[in-house]
Symmetry: C2
């Protein structure tokens, strides 16, 4: 199955700006990409990176400078079989979680969606030739609607790991709590640790 | 299996104070409790409510005015078999998600944990007589440690639905996006709707 990992190679993870400077954001984004590619390979996939600028990474890279939605739809338009699209900031992704995304699609399901917290779409398996993405706003609802419009059946995968995209400072505790790879290691080496304040878990540096 | 749903019958959901007044918080908390009890029954359980004050609800109620940790440990101490503990604010809980929590425990696993976002413990199945809870702080890590100390094996259940406890205003979109029961209906009747601002999904009223 064609497996694509979109990656912002220009100015990644801007919402982590309050905690990480630009070089750190780049390094941390690369660590997360590395973990996602590793989990996909361990799940039997051969992922390629879809980047908006050239980037050196241990995987084939396609550069498309257009928007995420346009670039992913170009892949879907050109595909002659199923396509899997997995976001590069799913630092908690494991082969087992990705297997569950692949499993329902193996049957009658034309589109399998792993929703992100906040209504996003963190991972997709598309087996219907007419389905297209629209990543703007609450894309989970849009993707259900689009699937409905083209007559594609939908399965939603109930995974905490795949629902957790690492975008904002409040997401970092999840990497320290549940991460198993380079992303967690990078945060720890950068001096981050879990901290509990007023009963809420956050990070300290 | 003894199934317990702890419920704050005094001053529930205080962190939703910026959006809901006290009466509304009580009503919304009751709607979520209703949904959790319904999902548990549909999964084949016969849940009882463990409340910190008397409350009228369509299920047997045990009142224990002590802390959550103390009250749950009293249940565990008195149990002569496995115990399931499910938080009352898991508005997205479904029978399928709860089944997955029960499944790993059916085998050799002594403690099955559904972690909450932020390091909490949203649901537990305990089959080891010496295991006790400690809900303060990052309880997910504490519960893993406690299980280790008493020689109990642990399984973590990877469920977005069970990871989503509804505590803060930022959690409400999840109920509107993925809820299927009374909680979602209550929010809609109270005038809440999804709103997208700067690419982030929130609620408007």
């Amino acid at each position: 199955m064609r497996t694509v990992v979109p990656f912002d190679a220009r100015d990644p993870k801007t919402r982590l700006g309050p905690l990480l400077d630009a070089d750190e954001r780049t390094a941390f984004a690369r660590a997360m990409l590395h973990d996602v590619l590793g989990a996909l390979r361990a799940a039997g996939s051969r992922p390629t990176v879809l980047a908006n600028a050239s980037v050196e990474v241990d995987a084939p890279v396609t550069v498309d400078e257009r928007s995420l939605t346009t670039a992913v739809n170009a892949v879907l338009t050109g595909a002659d079989g199923p396509v899997m699209i997995v976001m590069a900031d799913l630092a908690l992704a494991t082969p087992a979680a990705l297997d569950r995304l692949l499993a329902p699609a193996a049957g009658e399901t034309a589109v399998a969606i792993a929703p992100g917290r906040g209504g996003g779409t963190n991972a997709l398996v598309v087996r219907h030739p007419a389905f297209r993405v629209d990543y703007h706003g609450a894309s989970y609802l849009d993707h259900r609607r689009i699937a409905d419009e083209v007559g594609a059946s939908v399965a939603t995968v109930d995974s905490f790991r795949l629902s957790t995209d690492i975008d904002e400072p409040e997401d970092l505790p999840e990497v320290l709590l549940h991460g198993q790879g380079e992303s967690r290691q990078w945060l720890r080496q950068a001096g981050f640790a879990l901290g509990v304040q007023d009963g809420r878990v956050g990070v300290t540096r």
